[in-house]
Symmetry: C2
Subunit: 412 residues, 2 copies
């Protein structure tokens, strides 16, 4: 039975060891932001850091900043910090490009390391870019792509599968796969798995080493609060690194890029997976977000994920009791879920708009889901309680029927 | 005979219609920056714009900015602005990813549109990433890559060539290819050309339509002053667009990305060449640089390029007369060159360091080139005159012999 009164949730906030982190974000007053799983809010330190990067590093120190402010190391340095969050060594993670481009690189590289296997497998309902890139990689390599429903995944791991492409946490339902189990099953059948951690890094506990994960990607703009379209990351376990060639071998992946040699020679470690010059402003904005997440998860990430579970449980309990019109499509057990909850409703789009007009920000995922993200770094229990109140009220009053809430925006 | 006295060059500055643009940049006092061809300096408006993007768009308006601040259109919108600078229509240019990733996309897409042709051709001495990506694209497609010396390029356009990958202006020598001639020659032999305009956009006149160019890429952080690692651009002439499939088909290239459908359906126009979520901070920083360049080239770009030629001529004349130790490796005729001049010297690295210690910033390109970029938006004739003075003095005094100037930095 979750706490139900405002007094009860305020007591939870008063006792919350993570409560001070809320003030580290530049949150607009009055807004209850349940969309940190789509775009994390602005850390105050990022605004300050970007002024320094722009005015001092770019503006004053100009080209020399590649050396003096270590821009040249940023992809590996930030990757090294991120490694702690996913349970890998610091030379096993890079920050570079977009999730889509990183998926392409790892899927193609992995498939080429499995000659004779003709199929790339993914899951129907996987995030679209993961499905599209699986098909795109197959096309460029002359292989076949196959997408199967979740319940057929394991049976589909036949001996023709080169690579399996899965999201750890599903962007719609929030369903969380068992990393270790599927990775080990795939390995037993001779396939590599590329995991997309976009909805899990910073949202659920991750120990890729322990789970035996060799290849992963993920995005920087959700729970890592790296800024809109923040560069993504890619992970390759050390033992796997020498086996993979970068299919987009740009100069930043060269062993000695500033020798400007005609012939490509891949860097010895993971930096071979870099391609072109990275977008430094966006990259360094992400670094501050990662630093903040590290601070909140050191010495232990357990309080963060425990709070995430409690926030979800609070919301789910209140909505279950007060909003019978909503159907929870997310697993209710925390271990089988990410840090967001999705509810089906035939007018989910209008519902999300009506909530947004009340400064309760969730999002809509076609065709019929209202999705709410619970990000323990900046959300208070009281926010979640008020959000559930708002949902109940919008449903009870029919506020979502207002015609202005029916007009679809381009980005949902 | 170029002007030789300080009075003469000051008279040129006094008469320069572009002189007011210098104040639009946050240049550090005392620095003579001849490296705008490597990293353009910070436009003051960009610093202000980024504060707005960070504090208001990301910080206050959060996820809604994808709609309300049109983040979702930024790649196409900035591409449309850039189109004017390269002589294309606004739906023929996109800003996205890095030059390396864009090269990969266009080379692979172009090669797939030329089935039966087994070779991707490029030039020895082309910028490394262009060579590496030509080889990388060939490898992924099961084709062969060939790199030939400049003088063999035309003879190498045999009927097995699918794609020719060339830089318009060579990053080292500054040598400028004849866009129209090589494009038409390649077409006559059945090959497509992917041009890299990184060292020509904003540096030399470009009219891709007139030159018959169908495919091009280029970077945003040089003459466009887009910021370190600014996103790159790609151009596909309208007639060519339906023929090309994006080999990295991410969700931003989908016809309706926010329908989140399982099957990929490419957007009807050039937006199909988008892949993942773009790095908005870096992207919008670039937009301000492009806006500034548009302002300086409207109604005519002729004054900009005329000034570039005069700056180069001034420097070349002074150095020719006063620095016999330096060998100009760049063509002296403006029409055969970009907007930079490179000089061979056995101790070019130390020379560039010694100049840098005097606040004259050029750069070194291995193994033996000192390279100086002449960017007419912010350089004064007096700057160029003083820079030539500085070069002459460093050579005359042997200042470059100082041991601290011999220590190689990681990035040169």
């Amino acid at each position: 039975m979750p706490p139900m009164t405002l007094e009860e949730v305020r007591a939870l906030d008063a006792a919350d060891p993570l409560a001070p982190f809320r003030d580290r974000f530049a949150l607009p007053p009055g807004v209850i932001y349940l969309d940190g799983n789509s775009l994390g809010p602005l850390p105050k330190a990022t605004a300050a850091r970007l002024r320094e990067v722009v005015d001092v590093e770019w503006g004053r120190d100009l080209i020399s900043s590649w050396n003096t402010h270590a821009w040249v190391d940023a992809s590996a340095r930030i990757g090294g910090k991120l490694a702690t969050l996913v349970g890998l060594e610091e030379d096993e993670v890079l920050v570079t490009d977009s999730t889509s481009v990183n998926l392409f690189k790892l899927i193609v590289a992995a498939a080429r390391s499995r000659p004779g296997r003709g199929v790339l497998l993914t899951e129907l309902g996987n995030f679209p870019t993961d499905q599209y890139l699986t098909a795109g990689a197959a096309q460029v390599l002359g292989l076949r792509a196959r997408a199967v429903p979740t319940e057929l995944l394991e049976a589909s791991l036949t001996e023709d599968i080169a690579v399996l492409v899965l999201s750890h946490v599903n962007y719609r339902s929030g369903h969380r796969h068992d990393l270790a189990r599927l990775t080990s099953l795939a390995r037993a059948r001779g396939a590599l798995v590329v995991w997309d951690l976009s909805h899990s890094v910073g949202a659920v506990p991750l120990n890729l080493r322990e789970a035996g994960v060799e290849l992963a990607v993920g995005c920087g703009y959700k729970y890592l609060n790296g800024g809109p379209g923040a560069p993504a990351f890619l992970c390759v376990a050390r033992a796997c690194q020498p086996l993979l060639d970068n299919p987009i071998p740009g100069w930043f992946g060269h062993a000695r890029p500033f020798d400007f040699t005609d012939g490509y020679q891949p860097a010895p470690g993971l930096t071979r997976m870099l391609s072109g010059t990275p977008p430094i402003l966006s990259l360094l904005a992400l670094e501050t977000g990662v630093d903040l997440m590290l601070e909140a998860t050191t010495p232990s990430a357990a309080p963060l994920f425990a709070k995430s579970e409690r926030l979800c449980a609070l919301f789910a309990g209140l909505v279950r009791d007060r909003c019978p019109e909503l159907t929870l499509v997310s697993p209710i057990e925390p271990a089988r879920r990410g840090s967001h909850l999705s509810y089906a409703h035939p007018h989910a789009y209008a519902l999300v708009q009506a909530l947004s007009a009340r400064q309760i920000i969730g999002d809509f995922r076609a065709p019929d889901l209202a999705r709410f993200g619970f990000t323990p770094l900046f959300l208070r229990y009281e926010d979640v309680w008020r959000a559930a109140e708002g949902v109940a009220e919008v449903l009870k009053t029919g506020a979502w029927l207002d015609p202005r809430f029916q007009v679809r925006a381009r980005v949902t």
